[in-house]
Symmetry: C2
Subunit: 154 residues, 2 copies
């Protein structure tokens, strides 16, 4: 599986842009490395342990800033809130209906589709989003429950 750029590089990118490395921002970034596709609410909730007075606005604006810099990717699903992930090489997601977990999955050849779309129908593709829905191997084996949803990265 592809990895996102390391944390030092992310912090460096902020500095380059003249943005301040506040403790709140560092913590949001740290949590993005620790969690699997968290929502803004999950980041906020965990942040509150270290920063009891942090506001949701700070979390939202930090995530938006990181997204605008291209460092973070926002994923929207049918459920209410967005999920966030650190930017990395093109990959797909697998959404398990049993445990609720969102997995990163490699699907080589997926990006081939966009070349076909361009060559055959003239669409200019900037990026592709590919989402699978079903049951993950762990749940299929009966080894996971919904309570495991929202866990940290393995």
């Amino acid at each position: 599986m592809n990895e996102p750029m390391d944390m030092e590089a992310v912090l460096e990118r902020l500095k380059e842009k003249g943005l301040r490395l506040t403790p709140q921002r560092v913590e949001v970034i740290t949590l993005l490395y620790q969690l699997s596709h968290p929502t803004a609410e999950q980041v906020y909730s965990l942040m509150s342990k270290k920063f009891p007075y942090v506001s949701q606005t700070t979390v939202y604006s930090t995530l938006k800033m990181l997204k605008d810099l291209g460092l973070v990717n926002e994923l929207t699903y049918g459920d209410r809130s967005s999920h966030f992930e650190l930017t990395q090489e093109e990959h797909a997601h697998f959404n398990c209906k049993s445990c609720g977990e969102i997995y990163d999955v490699d699907v080589k050849d997926a990006h081939q589709l966009q070349y076909m779309l361009h060559a055959e129908q003239g669409y200019q593709v900037d990026f592709v989003r590919l989402e699978f829905y079903g049951t993950c191997p762990a749940c299929a084996a009966g080894g996971k429950s919904e309570a495991d949803a929202g866990r940290t990265k393995q």
Copy 2:
């Protein structure tokens, strides 16, 4: 391109389920045939011409009912509200960043990916959502503007 089932069949399905074919419901369904991936708000807005006293609640509940019956598919995107389409054979979407239009596109071989995912990694795939983002042929040719977004079907 695949076609959704015809309108007679949709209305028949409601009857089968013992649901009433009220004028409001027929109008929502009619609009789904006429529009390209409308939002609930767009359906409501157009409905208001024929039914000045219709409420948003009716539109939402009708769309939800159709979705629960599997006759309609709900698409969620970034910041905006949900878009709806009549159910049809598996297909992908192309989102044009220039005109905002959502196109249905055929991408044969797309569903091959889910077999690979299952065979190689053990994920049981129920369905796939594939979204492309970029510039459509009409916009690339300079022939379309944002004002054309939300048009009816061609």
